[in-house]
């Protein structure tokens, strides 16, 4: 019994350390290929089933994202003015907004291929950029880069840059504007309303 338990624990430890040693570029590649594989086989997603693609992203992609950090970056210097519950609420709403809007982009998938740029990392680095490129027939390749940081043993994405446009910092001026107009609570209210209106659009689209 004891022996079995130790073997079990040991196996668990091995698996955990294998996980920890996973480099960020390998992580990005695995998740990307995993998700593309599912989309390639799923006719519902290809024909624009938003809820299904959101579920997929929720399960496969989000565990590798650090939304707290993303939100802090998007809010910028006002972040420190927010209380912990406000920060939590901002993070939740911003996450909902990003997932909803950019998951939709995946339903437009048509035979794109992702190329992984050579990656090297110095020992002990905890903040890296993984560069990829999306190739699509008949148009220019699109640069798609991920910023990751190491938190404890795991690498987490905190920014995604498409063709040089950071999805996170692109919100900074808009968020700043909302905070100037209505404070942190004003920004939260705007995000809540935005998500609600997207939700009702989605519901309408499903009914059709």
């Amino acid at each position: 019994m004891m022996k079995k338990l130790i073997t079990f624990l040991f196996a668990g430890f091995l698996a955990a350390s294998a996980c920890a040693q996973e480099t960020p570029d390998v992580l990005i590649q695995q998740v990307t290929e995993d998700v593309l594989d599912i989309i390639r086989k799923d006719k519902d997603i290809q024909s624009g089933n938003t809820q299904k693609v959101i579920d997929l992203v929720d399960k496969k992609v989000l565990p590798h994202f650090n939304f707290q950090r993303m939100t802090a970056l998007a809010v910028g210097k006002d972040w420190k003015k927010a209380t912990p519950p406000q920060q939590q609420q901002l993070t939740q709403e911003f996450k909902t907004l990003l997932v909803r809007t950019y998951s939709n982009a995946l339903t437009g998938y048509k035979n794109q291929k992702v190329v992984y740029k050579p990656f090297k990392m110095n020992a002990g680095e905890t903040d890296v950029l993984v560069r990829t490129e999306v190739l699509q027939p008949g148009s220019k390749p699109v640069q798609l880069d991920y910023s990751l940081e190491k938190i404890e043993a795991a690498w987490k994405v905190y920014d995604v840059t498409i063709a040089g446009i950071s999805l996170v910092t692109n919100y900074r001026d808009q968020f700043g504007q909302e905070v100037r107009n209505g404070g942190i609570d004003g920004l939260i209210a705007t995000l809540v309303n935005k998500n609600k209106s997207l939700e009702s659009n989605l519901a309408k689209a499903e009914k059709k």
Partner: protein, 241 residues
């Protein structure tokens, strides 16, 4: 949405632009809330709203019809054709920025695609590993050290900084498509290129509509980030948080 990614080179409206300059000169810098990156925000927002109307009722519907009716190989051919025409000027700008091996690639692309690629309809050079670059005169001026001069939003051609507006005039002057004669053929080519570019931006429309809290600011900031990325050839130095 027209010209969101700053790729528009149409210039269907130089007169309108000149009018815009006049209005700008009259209105002067609007230093209201004081976004230092957007000194002409009042003017820009007015132009943006006007452009949204033009886009909604003219540019976008036409692009949608084109997108729907044109088979993919034809669309690819159209995109490749104008891409090939642009490679000469891209090569000149690579050279102006001191990137002579890039310039060699650009000219190599032009030679290969114009011949083996049948007048540029097929991008054979990319298949052979000669990567396409994105260069224009605005980027060359930036590399020489010119500041961006403030952000502007123009009808039809969309977002441009002051520097890149000047660059756009030089680009248009050097653009072979504008020199095609007779005039009706030239106009058709210019219009086709405009529609092709607008159609290529259609998938981005929905994302922007959904993602933006303020569409004007979203497009402005995306444009400025994208330009910075182009000027540094895809590897801009990191900004501090």
């Amino acid at each position: 949405m027209t010209g969101m990614l700053g790729a528009l080179k149409s210039g269907a409206c130089r007169g309108l632009l000149a009018g815009g300059f006049l209005a700008l000169a009259l209105s002067g810098p609007v230093m209201a809330e004081g976004n230092p990156r957007d000194p002409y925000e009042g003017f820009n927002r007015a132009m943006f709203s006007a452009n949204e109307v033009v886009d909604q009722y003219a540019a976008k519907p036409v692009a949608q019809v084109y997108d729907k009716l044109t088979p993919l190989p034809v669309k690819a051919g159209v995109g490749n054709f104008f891409g090939n025409v642009g490679d000469l000027w891209i090569g000149v700008n690579s050279a102006l920025q001191g990137k002579f091996s890039d310039a060699g690639v650009d000219i190599g692309r032009l030679l290969i695609n114009s011949t083996i690629g049948i007048f540029g309809l097929f991008d054979v050079a990319s298949e052979l590993g000669l990567e396409k670059h994105e260069e224009d005169f605005g980027q060359s001026m930036a590399v020489w050290g010119a500041g961006d001069g403030g952000y502007l939003f123009w009808p039809i051609i969309g977002p441009r900084t002051a520097r890149d507006t000047a660059g756009w005039f030089v680009d248009s002057y050097a653009d072979p498509v504008w020199r095609v004669r007779p005039i009706p053929v030239r106009n058709s080519l210019v219009a086709l290129r405009f529609v092709d570019i607008r159609a290529s931006l259609l998938p981005a429309d929905k994302v922007v509509e959904e993602a933006a809290l303020d569409k004007y600011a979203y497009i402005r900031d995306a444009y400025l980030q994208r330009r910075r990325n182009q000027i540094y050839d895809g590897r801009p130095p990191r900004l501090d948080d």
